[in-house]
């Protein structure tokens, strides 16, 4: 046993030592073990061996055989790089210290350069997606949506600046005009501040739906600038937030947002190409129109997990089939916890199943038209009077929030989960310059339920629980409701 332990310890030595003397060392151990029996002698033996090991193992690793130097010259074939032993010496402590300090300095230098010297470009800015997630094609309710073809010159914006895929876009499409470079920690000067204020004021006066307030807001922006209230702000995002605040002081409109984008804003919005549309169609087909799960749970409770509100023209059949399969359930749960939005038309299409008469659905970015009413009743549908539950999370966004908001306001569904993300995307986006833009409502949709909607604040659920527990809670609520009957 002891010999096995020592044989194992011998592996700590470099292989050349083991090859030359490993057997001898083991033999010496055996000789000593035979001669030194008894507890104390054995203890002394192991003490000797371990101290010897501690001292000699490091020394062996520093020791370089002299023949290596000459061998390296002989073994090197022509043109093949190889390492040569230049000095026939082990490294002195001074050299090791110097090497260590130098390595540390290099490491620190590279870290500093990587963090400060080179601008970080997000990976997703370099990759042009070939397949977009559902709702990302021309969805007026999705924050990542590119501008639509029928919305030329403008694009929608919510409470946050739109993601601009210019870096990727320039690789596949001609950019309009000179490509501005991303701004790196640039400070705003008075000229740029004035340009942004003048641009914002002009757009407000031209396009904001409430002309009187538009004039007041434009005047307020100019007055603040004249008074020097903006002079201390040299940071882009802070300046955008300040101007937004100044406008909202005049008119508390959460759909009105001035935003800053570090990445340059496109001169003209980029319309989706036929490839984009084909990719979207393919993605919808592959993802079953983002209807992730349709199931009938115990106690005949219907469950529908939907991760976007896809284009009705592509997904009508899938949506209708999903709702038909739940037609005979006693209650229905819509799981929108991973739903990032999509088409208002699909919101209306699905909501229609919950009513036996046309119902008005408020949509903050569209004027009230015939399309604002659901096409209820749906022929053959039996869900119009069944209890409905909607599961929400902080990821629930945009079009999904419209579904939540309207059903909550109509007291047609019980919302279970977390407060939603708060993306109404109700404004129309106008570019001011390379880095600033303003989203303003150009229409006034009638909100019959409340003065506010979900923009920035989200939709508060009726039953507040963590998203992870929302399904369990909703099932309990549904069951309790069914037992009452």
């Amino acid at each position: 046993m002891s010999e096995k332990i020592y044989a194992w310890l011998l592996r700590l030595y470099p292989s050349r030592f083991r090859e030359a003397h490993g057997e001898d060392a083991l033999q010496l151990f055996r000789d000593r073990a035979r001669a030194e029996e008894g507890f104390l002698l054995r203890l002394r033996l192991w003490f000797d061996l371990l101290s010897d090991l501690t001292l000699s193992v490091p020394r062996e690793y520093f020791h370089v055989q002299p023949q290596l130097a000459s061998l390296s010259a002989h073994l090197r074939p022509d043109g093949v790089p190889s390492f040569c032993v230049l000095a026939n010496e082990s490294l002195g402590p001074g050299a090791l210290l110097f090497g260590g300090v130098l390595s540390f300095a290099a490491l620190v230098t590279f870290s500093v350069l990587l963090n400060h010297g080179v601008r970080h470009v997000p990976l997703n800015a370099l990759i042009r997606p070939t397949q977009r997630s559902a709702g990302a094609r021309s969805s007026p309710f999705d924050s990542s949506a590119p501008p639509t073809a029928n919305n030329t010159g403008q694009e929608t914006i919510g409470s946050k600046p739109p993601e601009q895929p210019e870096i990727a876009a320039t690789s596949s499409r001609p950019n309009h005009g000179a490509a501005p470079k991303p701004r790196v920690n640039a400070k705003l000067d008075a000229t740029e501040r004035r340009r942004v204020i003048d641009g914002a004021a002009a757009i407000l006066e031209k396009d904001y739906f409430d002309r009187d307030n538009a004039k007041k807001m434009a005047a307020a922006l100019r007055a603040h600038e004249k008074n020097g209230d903006d002079h201390a702000v040299t940071d882009g995002p802070a300046f955008a937030a300040l101007l937004t605040q100044q406008m909202r002081e005049v008119s508390p409109d959460r759909h009105l947002t001035l935003a800053y984008s570090e990445a340059p804003l496109a001169q003209h919005p980029i319309a989706p190409t036929p490839e984009d549309l084909a990719g979207y169609r393919k993605a919808m087909k592959n993802q079953h129109c983002t209807f992730e799960e349709v199931a009938i749970l115990p106690h005949n409770i219907g469950y529908l997990k939907l991760n976007s509100f896809p284009d009705v023209s592509l997904c009508r059949a899938t949506a209708a089939a999903a709702m038909d399969s739940l037609n005979h359930t006693e209650a229905v749960i819509f799981d929108l916890r991973d739903n990032r939005g999509g088409e208002p038309a699909m919101v209306s299409f699905l909501a229609a199943y919950l009513f036996d008469h046309p119902e008005y659905l408020y949509n903050p970015r569209e004027n009230t038209t015939e399309e604002s009413w659901t096409h209820s009743p749906v022929p053959g549908n039996k869900l119009a009077d069944k209890p409905a539950y909607v599961l929400t999370s902080s990821r629930t966004l945009s079009g999904a929030e419209q579904f939540c908001y309207d059903l909550k306001m109509l007291k047609r569904a019980t919302l279970v989960g977390e407060t939603t993300g708060g993306g109404a995307h109700a404004g129309v986006w106008h570019r001011i310059d390379d880095h600033f833009g303003i989203g303003i409502p150009e229409t006034k949709a009638i909100n019959p339920y409340s003065k506010t909607d979900w923009a920035e604040i989200g939709v508060e659920p009726d039953v507040q629980v963590q998203a992870a527990y929302a399904l369990g809670t909703a099932k309990e609520l549904a069951l309790a409701q069914l037992r009452k009957k």
């Binding site: 003397h21 083991l26 000789d31 000593r32 035979r34 090991l53």
Partner: protein, 116 residues
Amino acid sequence: MPKQKLNPLPSAAFQILLALAGEDLHGYGIMRQVAEQTGGRMRLGPGTLYSSIQTLLEAKLIEETDAREDAKLGNERRRYYRLTSAGRKLARSEAERFACLLRVARSKKILRGEYV
């Protein structure tokens, strides 16, 4: 390298040279002889022993003789080592250096005469 590693001569290497001055010995024999000549103060472990042996071999201060059995320790064949003339010369000069030091020490009354 061996020259540098042996200048100054490490005490383990000097003890090995001294151990081999009397007769050819295998590794365990050297270890015992060193322990004996140092009054048990130096018990060379296998790592130190064979590392020193390797250095002395490379410096041609000792050499390997034909492997053979040691009747007292069983029938395993062992490598024996012998002092070369260069090794003997180095051991002598090292001993003289110590003798010189001892004389100085004795003259300074650090050591008493009976030790030498």
